[in-house]
Subunit: 357 residues, 2 copies
């Protein structure tokens, strides 16, 4: 995910110099997509880069060029292990970037991949990864335009890191922003949550659990495209809930839009092995990373047509309306369970599952 | 530098599957920009990504969008140490990407930076690096549109790696390609070579040499812009000679254009400390990396106006015509020294100075 800078203080942005980041050293949590990441982005990157920022950023930056609106994004991939059921760093590096463009309403038109490789990586692993990138790009119907390769000494990387940048053309019918979200709007989710995070966790072998799960890594553009066609005039906001999961994305929405976000626990699609693993390990599935799902907020008038559109796409059969936007409690995510219990769910703090993507 | 795929075999590109890379494991040389890098790119990346390639690649990929020609590039930076006289990884990450766009004839309009950080990196180092990125972007007059941040465990990176992607608008007057280079054309160089590579080498402290040198890291766009204005109709080819140095860039030109490239050793600008260090260490300055210079081939009619244009830009006073294109010996770089001695200079083989950028 592109770092999100939704609340750029204009003073910092203009003076370009008011840094408020005093953490003594960088910890894993700074890369987890939750509270520490936000502190790093808002305290250090936003003030320093703010003076030159063209647009407030969400998943991709947008630019007007030659009368067209372009979206551009960049994502680093450091997943461990490199290969896991359902995919590898290669698929993630394509789909993660394609999805950041897609949830910005942009059709992906080109990718660049940069490999930082540890000396000693077997040539066969590099070949498999490169094939995975090529195949995922072909499935997502987006060309790999090129890239760069750097090699560092043995022990100075963990096999292979990939950074992918992507360019897309924003659909002219789409106008997305947290600010346009209104009480009464509904929240859609494209499919079951947690498959990617739990799959990678189990693939590490640190936990003695066996479950038939696969990463959900895929391009969500086919679903987004159908959603835009069906409900563009009611489409307010989209996000792919990767690091930090659904809870972090919806907390950011609640803060950025100053609304209350309410979800109904029993409407959130989830596979039994994910539910079971989370219960055993004390994890909240709402914090688990996904790599092939997205959240959308649409007006209540467009809710049913939007849901029908998502469900009509192969792989979208489990899409659901999982919640709604309310006036209050503002800036929070409330999760309502059957029988009337309610709990506040915060964004991810710390990082129970580092290097998930 | 974006990986260069100039000789994409069409069969491989169309079938997308004929991999000819059988190296048992990845070595430092695969990232050095010389022979092994070319083997990796031509044997693995080109066949697999070729099926989706839109354009033959040089320093940046170009795309037609909305009637405009855009250039897009991505570069990984893994320099060691992170800071050195005259700059840091932060300046390189901006200028290296800006320069790849510039030598594609493109005015840079936006950058994205992705940080892969090792846990334990002092917050102060990250702050200095981020300021270096911001300041270099301001000097190069290009906005940082956003980026991504990932953190890996202590021991799984070397402080900090940065990948930068950049978007630019290609000047409509420019048409660059190795294929357009003709015997009789002249070769220009923007200034003295080797400052960056030797500065970083000395900053590592492995060599007991003291020299007052600074990295030449800077944006070359102001010089390129002036060159385009003065000689666009005679401008054939440009390249920034980073990894692998001037010799590797000119060897690639000789092969891609099937011409002989001849340079005159005594016309290649070089500072005394670079010459001295290279003599002591047995390095060829033509193989040393530069981060603020570029090579250009222009028609002989435009040679003098092109040189005058470069020299009129602050920092371009030492620009020189260093050689010429000939019919033969084809596909080689010949370096002529005073008193009539001649030597063939190949592209870099192996990597005497790893992680220079």
């Amino acid at each position: 995910m592109l770092t999100s800078l939704p609340h750029l203080g204009t003073e910092e942005a203009q003076t370009g110099r008011v840094v408020r980041f005093s953490d003594y050293q960088i910890e894993m949590a700074h890369g987890a997509g939750g509270m520490a990441s936000r502190r790093l982005v808002e305290g250090l990157f936003a003030p320093l880069f703010g003076g030159t920022l063209l647009t407030p950023l969400t998943d991709a930056a947008t630019l007007e060029i030659g009368g067209m609106r372009l979206a551009m994004t960049a994502d680093g991939f450091v997943v461990r292990p490199l290969e896991f059921p359902g995919g590898s760093i290669g698929e993630l590096a394509v789909n993660g970037t394609v999805n950041d463009l897609a949830v910005s309403g942009a059709r992906p038109i080109g990718l660049l991949t940069t490999f930082v490789i540890e000396a000693g990586l077997p040539g066969a692993v590099l070949e498999r990864t490169t094939r995975a990138v090529a195949d995922a790009a072909r499935r997502a119907d987006v060309p790999i335009l090129g890239g760069d390769t750097k090699v560092v000494e043995h022990g100075k990387a963990d096999g292979l890191y990939i950074t992918t940048s992507g360019l897309g053309v924003v659909d002219a019918r789409v106008s997305l922003s947290a600010a346009s979200v209104r009480p009464g709007d509904v929240i859609l989710l494209s499919g079951p949550i947690g498959d990617h995070g739990i799959t990678v966790l189990l693939a590490r072998g640190d936990v003695d659990l066996d479950a038939s799960l696969r990463s959900d890594t895929r391009s969500v553009w086919p679903m987004v495209k159908r959603l835009i066609a069906a409900a563009a005039d009611g489409l307010r906001w989209m996000r792919d809930p990767t690091r930090g999961g659904v809870a972090t994305s919806l907390n950011e929405l609640a803060r950025d839009a100053s609304v209350g976000v309410v979800i109904f626990e029993d409407r959130v699609p989830m596979r039994a092995p994910v539910r079971g693993a989370c219960e055993l390990l004390g994890l909240d599935p709402l914090h688990i990373a996904n790599e092939g799902q997205f959240l959308a907020v649409v007006s209540s008038e467009r809710a049913e047509s939007a849901l029908a559109a998502l469900r009509s796409v192969p792989g979208g059969e489990e899409a659901a309306i999982i919640g709604e936007i309310r006036d209050s409690p503002a800036k929070t995510l409330l999760c309502l369970a059957p029988y009337g219990t309610a709990r506040l769910v915060d964004m991810l703090v710390g990082d129970p599952l580092p290097r998930i993507c």
